[in-house]
C-alpha cells in the first residue's frame, strides 16, 4: 500500500520525474509511486519497456531482447529478483518459468555440450567431457563461487580508504582477481580451448573480449545463471514491463507515452525539471534518467550547467556493443528439427578475440546466440509452431557507414551469414521460417535513442570496474540508472532502478 507522502510538493509539479520506461526507469518509478511519492514517468515510445518489449508479426509475437532472466530463484529459495518482484507487487501478475540447463555450447565439429543449471551437475558434465581437466574444473568453480560471494559482501567497503584496507583482509579473492582478466584466470586453470569456450560462451552477455573482461563479471554471470537458473516470463519481457507499469499506475503514478524529453532543466547546480518535445516545462525535485549520462551531459543540459568532472568522467568511456537480431516464427515444433532446449550458443571457432573483431565489421558473424522460446514459455508460439531468435553482437559503426539505400540489402546479407552459422547445428531451420524480421544496431538507435544503439551501456572493459570507477552525481537532484550505470542485462538494470530509487527516497526522509 502506498505510504504517506514523505515530501511536500509545494512549488513543483511532481516530486520525481522518471524519464524513460525501460527496466530501471520502470522499477524506479514503481518504487517511488508505491512509497507515496508523486511521480511522472515520461517515455518517447508508445509502449513501456525500452528493450524489454515485443512486437507482432503474422501469427507470432517476437521478444525483442530477453533471452534468459537471472536472479529469480525458486519459490522456496527466492533470488533477489523474485524478492523485488514481490516488493513491487507484480508476482501475481506474471508467470515465471525456469529452465533446467543454461545453454548448449557448440563449435561445429569440435564442441557440443549442454551445461545443466545446477552447480554440481554442471561440473560433473564438464568433467565427463574433459576428464583430463577435472581438477582445474573443480578449482575454477570453487574460485567462481568465492569470487561471487565476496563481490556481494565487499560492496559497502569500496567507497573509503578504510573500507579498502579492510577489504584486503576480508575479501582477498575479490581484491586479487577484481581487476584480473577472465582470460588470465581461464589460462591458469585450463588447457583445452574448447573447454575454455564452453565456459565463456556467455561472453556475448558481457560484450567485450575476455582479456578485457574482469574475471569477476564472468564468474558472477555463470554463478547467477547456474545457481538461480535461467528464467523466462510468459508473454515475454513485455509482460514484465506491463506488469510494472500497472503496479506504478495503481499506486497513483502518472505515465505519458510519445513524450520525448529534450532538455533537463538545471540551475545553479540543481536539476529542477524537464522540457518535453511538445515544448512543455514540467518541474520536479528529482529528475531520474533511465538513459545514458552521455546524453544528459552532452546534449540535454545547457553546456554552462555541465560540471567539468562529468565531462572528464565520460570522456574515458565508450558506447558499448549493440546487436543484430533475426526474429523467426517457425512453422514446425522445435523437436521436429532437432531443437531440444531454449538456448544454444554457437561459435564458428573457439577464438573469442576473432569473434569480437568481427562484431566491429559486416564480415560473416563468428558467434551467434540462438533462443527457442517454446521451452520456457508454452504460449510463445501458435500450436504446431515455434518462436525463436538469433542474435549476433555488433557495433553500430559499420552500419553507420552504409548509405541508407544499401541498408536493406546489407541487413539481409548479414542475417543470412548468421543463419548459415546456425544451420550447421540445426540444418533444417531455414525451410521452416514463416515470419522473419531483422533488427540491426540502427534499429536499436531508432527505438531506444541510445548512443550507437548500445544494448549494454558502456563497453564493460576493466576500466569500468568498481575498483577504478565510481558513479558519481555531478548535479544535485539528477540521477541516472540503467545499463549505463551498472553491468548490463535484465537483472542488474531492474535492480539498479529499485536501488537508486531507495537511495533517493532515503534522502527525502
Amino acid at each position: 500500500m502506498p505510504n504517506q507522502n514523505p515530501l511536500t510538493t509545494a512549488g513543483v509539479d511532481y516530486d520525481v520525474i522518471v524519464v524513460g520506461a525501460g527496466n530501471a526507469g520502470l522499477t524506479a518509478a514503481a518504487s517511488f509511486a508505491r512509497s507515496g511519492v508523486k511521480t511522472l514517468l515520461l517515455e518517447r515510445h508508445n509502449i513501456p519497456g525500452g528493450c524489454a518489449t515485443s512486437f507482432a508479426r503474422g501469427r507470432y509475437e517476437f521478444e525483442v531482447s530477453l533471452h534468459q532472466l537471472s536472479g529469480v530463484g525458486t519459490e522456496d529459495q527466492p533470488g533477489p529478483l523474485r524478492q523485488m518482484f514481490g516488493q513491487l507487487g507484480i508476482l501475481d501478475k506474471i508467470s515465471l518459468h525456469g529452465e533446467s540447463s543454461i545453454y548448449r555450447a557448440v563449435i561445429d565439429g569440435a564442441l557440443d555440450v549442454s551445461i545443466p543449471a545446477d552447480w554440481e551437475e554442471a561440473q560433473n558434465v564438464l568433467c565427463v567431457e574433459f576428464p583430463e581437466e577435472r581438477e582445474g574444473i573443480r578449482r575454477f568453480f570453487k574460485l567462481m563461487d568465492t569470487m561471487t560471494i565476496e563481490s556481494f559482501g565487499v560492496s559497502k567497503l569500496l567507497h573509503s580508504e578504510e573500507g579498502i584496507r579492510a577489504a584486503y583482509q576480508q575479501f582477498p579473492t575479490f581484491m586479487k582477481y577484481g581487476l584480473t582478466s577472465a582470460e588470465k584466470v581461464l589460462n591458469e586453470h585450463f588447457r583445452s580451448p574448447e573447454l575454455k569456450y564452453a565456459l565463456t560462451v556467455y561472453w556475448g552477455y558481457l560484450g567485450v573480449p575476455l582479456h578485457d573482461t574482469s574475471f569477476q563479471d564472468l564468474a558472477m554471470t555463470l554463478w547467477a545463471y547456474i545457481k538461480t537458473k535461467p528464467y523466462y516470463i510468459e508473454g515475454g519481457s513485455q509482460a514484465l514491463s506491463n506488469a510494472i507499469t500497472d503496479s506504478f499506475t495503481e499506486a497513483g503514478g502518472e505515465i505519458r507515452f510519445n513524450c520525448q524529453v529534450e532538455q533537463i532543466l538545471v540551475k545553479d547546480g540543481q536539476a529542477y525539471g524537464v522540457r518535453t518535445e511538445h515544448g512543455e516545462e514540467i518541474t520536479a525535485k528529482v529528475v531520474f534518467c533511465n538513459f545514458s549520462p552521455i546524453t544528459s551531459y552532452s546534449t540535454l543540459i545547457e553546456p554552462e550547467q555541465v560540471p567539468q568532472d562529468a565531462i572528464k568522467d565520460l570522456s574515458s568511456r565508450t558506447a558499448g556493443v549493440s546487436a543484430t537480431t533475426l526474429y523467426m516464427g517457425l512453422d514446425c515444433e522445435p523437436e521436429d528439427i532437432g531443437i531440444t532446449q531454449a538456448t544454444t550458443m554457437i561459435g564458428a571457432n573457439a577464438d573469442v578475440d576473432e569473434q569480437y573483431r568481427r562484431a566491429k565489421t559486416l564480415e560473416p558473424a563468428g558467434y551467434v546466440g540462438f533462443t527457442c522460446y517454446n521451452f520456457a514459455d508454452p504460449t510463445a508460439a501458435p500450436k504446431g509452431g515455434a518462436n525463436a531468435s538469433l542474435i549476433a553482437l555488433q557495433y553500430a559503426d559499420p552500419w553507420l557507414k552504409l548509405s541508407p539505400r544499401d541498408y536493406a540489402k546489407e541487413k539481409y546479407r548479414y542475417a543470412d551469414s548468421m543463419l548459415k552459422l546456425l544451420e550447421k547445428t540445426y540444418p533444417q531451420i531455414r525451410g521452416h521460417i514463416e515470419e522473419a524480421e531483422v533488427a540491426t544496431p540502427l534499429t536499436a538507435m531508432r527505438y531506444l535513442n541510445t548512443p550507437r544503439g548500445s544494448i549494454y551501456g558502456f563497453d564493460m572493459k576493466l576500466t569500468e570496474h568498481r575498483l577504478v570507477r565510481e558513479n558519481e552525481n555531478h548535479i544535485q537532484g539528477l540521477y541516472h540508472a540503467g545499463t549505463w550505470t551498472t553491468t548490463q542485462g535484465y537483472q542488474p538494470t531492474l535492480q539498479a532502478g529499485c536501488t537508486m530509487a531507495r537511495r533517493i527516497l532515503r534522502t527525502f526522509a
Partner: protein, 385 residues
C-alpha cells in the same frame, strides 16, 4: 594518488589506461545528433510532401506523384506504404497507400489511388487534389515485402484493383536491378478498363523474361480471350507449373483475402509461402467471426476518454475514426491492427476486436487495444496515455 589501492593487482595499469583515454577524448561524442541523423535518414516520423504531377490511370484511378519539400525521401522496400494525413471537412484523419514507384527512384514516391464508391478519402484524393498541393505523411512502413533470407525467388503476386500498386513497385525494381528473381503478376479487375498500368505491364512482360503478367477479368466483354471470373485455384494452377515452389503476395480489396486464402489452400500452398498486405479495418465488422450477435452495428454507444471528452458513435465504427471525428488525433499508420501505433487502453466496457488485431499477449491482459480495429459494442471508457 590513492596509493592504498596500489596493491590491487592490475590497479595501476587500469588507472593509467583511464587517464590516457581522458586525454585522448577530451569531449564526449554527440551521440544525440548522430542518432537524430539516422532517424531522419531512415525513419523520419513525418514527411512533408508536395504533389508534383497527377497521372490519370483509368477512369477511377490516378497516380499522385509526391516529392519532398526538403528534397529528401527515405529508402523503402518495394511493398511498403506511407500513411498520408488528410484534413477534410474539419477532420484530421489518415490513410495508408502503398508506394507504386521503384525503391531505386527516391526523388519521388508515386501513390496510385483508386476511388472507392462512397469512399471518404479516396474520392477526395482522386477528384479534388491539385498539382502543388502539400501533404504530411509518415515515413515508409509495413512488412509486406520480399525477404531473401527465406522466401522463394519465384514470386507470385495476386493483386486486385489498386492492390497492383505494391506489385508495380516490386516489378519495376526487379527489372531495374536485374535480380535472379521472377515475378508473376496475376491481376484481377472487375472490367477491362479498370486495369491500372496495363500498357506498362504489357511492355515489361514483353521485354523481360523474369516478368509475367496475367489478367483475370470479372465482367469481360463476350469475346474476351483471357481469364474470366476471380483469381481461382484453377486459374493459378493453369498459369504456374509448380505453385508450391512460389512465394505468394496477396494484395487487394478485403473480400479478395478470404477467397484467395481458400484457393491457395486448395493448391496446398504452405502458410509460410503466403503474405497478405494489411488492408484497413473490416468494412463490416458485424460480419466478422466473434461479433456479438445481439449488437447491431448501428447501435449508438458512448465513448469517454479519461480526463477528456465524451462522445457518441456507432458500434460499427472503428474507435480510431470515432476519436478523429471528435478532434482527438492519435498516432497511427497501418490502420489495420498491425503496427500498434494507435495503442490505447480500454478501462471499462465491452469492445470487439477482429482477428486481424495483432495485439501483444500481455497488452490484452491489461486491456490495451489497437484502436484502428477496435469497435465499442457498448459504452466504454478509454485511457490515452
Amino acid at each position: 594518488m590513492s596509493d592504498y589501492k596500489d596493491a590491487i593487482p592490475g590497479y595501476k595499469e587500469t588507472i593509467e589506461r583511464i587517464h590516457n583515454l581522458e586525454e585522448n577524448n577530451p569531449v564526449p561524442y554527440n551521440y544525440w545528433a548522430e542518432t537524430a541523423k539516422v532517424i531522419n535518414e531512415y525513419h523520419p516520423k513525418r514527411l512533408q510532401l508536395r504533389v508534383s504531377e497527377i497521372i490519370a490511370e483509368t477512369a477511377t484511378s490516378k497516380t499522385l506523384r509526391l516529392v519532398s519539400t526538403d528534397g529528401y525521401l527515405p529508402p523503402f522496400q518495394a511493398g511498403q506504404y506511407i500513411n498520408l494525413f488528410v484534413d477534410i471537412e474539419g477532420i484530421t484523419t489518415s490513410r495508408a497507400f502503398a508506394i507504386s514507384s521503384s525503391p531505386n527512384t527516391l526523388n519521388h514516391y508515386d501513390l496510385t489511388i483508386r476511388k472507392i464508391k462512397d469512399g471518404f478519402i479516396s474520392q477526395y484524393l482522386v477528384n479534388d487534389v491539385q498539382v502543388g498541393q502539400e501533404f504530411i505523411s509518415t515515413g515508409p512502413m509495413g512488412n509486406f515485402y520480399y525477404n531473401p533470407i527465406y522466401q522463394s525467388k519465384n514470386v507470385v503476386f495476386l493483386a486486385g484493383g489498386s492492390g497492383v500498386a505494391p506489385a508495380m513497385s516490386m516489378i519495376r525494381e526487379l527489372v531495374e536491378n536485374g535480380d535472379d528473381k521472377t515475378i508473376t503478376l496475376i491481376y484481377g479487375s472487375m472490367n477491362l478498363d479498370d486495369i491500372i498500368f496495363k500498357n506498362e505491364l504489357d511492355q515489361l512482360a514483353n521485354e523481360h523474361s523474369s516478368v509475367r503478367v496475367e489478367y483475370v477479368v470479372t465482367n469481360p466483354p463476350e469475346n474476351y480471350q483471357g481469364y474470366r471470373g476471380f483469381i481461382s485455384a484453377d486459374i493459378i494452377q493453369d498459369i504456374l507449373e509448380a505453385p508450391e515452389d512460389n512465394t505468394f503476395f496477396v494484395c487487394g480489396p478485403q473480400i479478395m483475402y478470404g477467397f484467395a486464402e481458400a484457393e491457395l489452400r486448395k493448391l496446398n500452398i504452405k502458410r509460410r509461402n503466403i503474405k497478405f498486405e494489411a488492408n484497413g479495418p473490416p468494412s463490416d465488422p458485424s460480419q466478422e467471426p466473434g461479433w456479438p450477435e445481439d449488437v447491431n452495428k448501428t447501435k449508438k454507444v458512448k465513448v469517454t476518454v479519461t480526463g477528456g471528452k465524451s462522445f457518441e458513435t456507432e458500434a460499427g465504427e472503428p474507435l480510431l475514426n470515432a476519436l478523429e471525428r471528435n478532434g482527438i488525433v492519435m498516432e497511427s499508420a497501418c490502420r489495420s491492427g498491425e503496427c500498434s501505433l494507435c495503442r490505447c487502453k480500454v478501462v471499462k466496457g465491452e469492445v470487439f476486436e477482429p482477428k486481424q488485431a495483432h495485439v501483444r499477449k500481455s497488452d490484452k491482459q491489461y486491456g490495451y487495444v489497437h484502436s484502428c480495429v477496435t469497435f465499442a459494442v457498448g459504452d466504454i471508457d478509454i485511457e490515452i496515455q
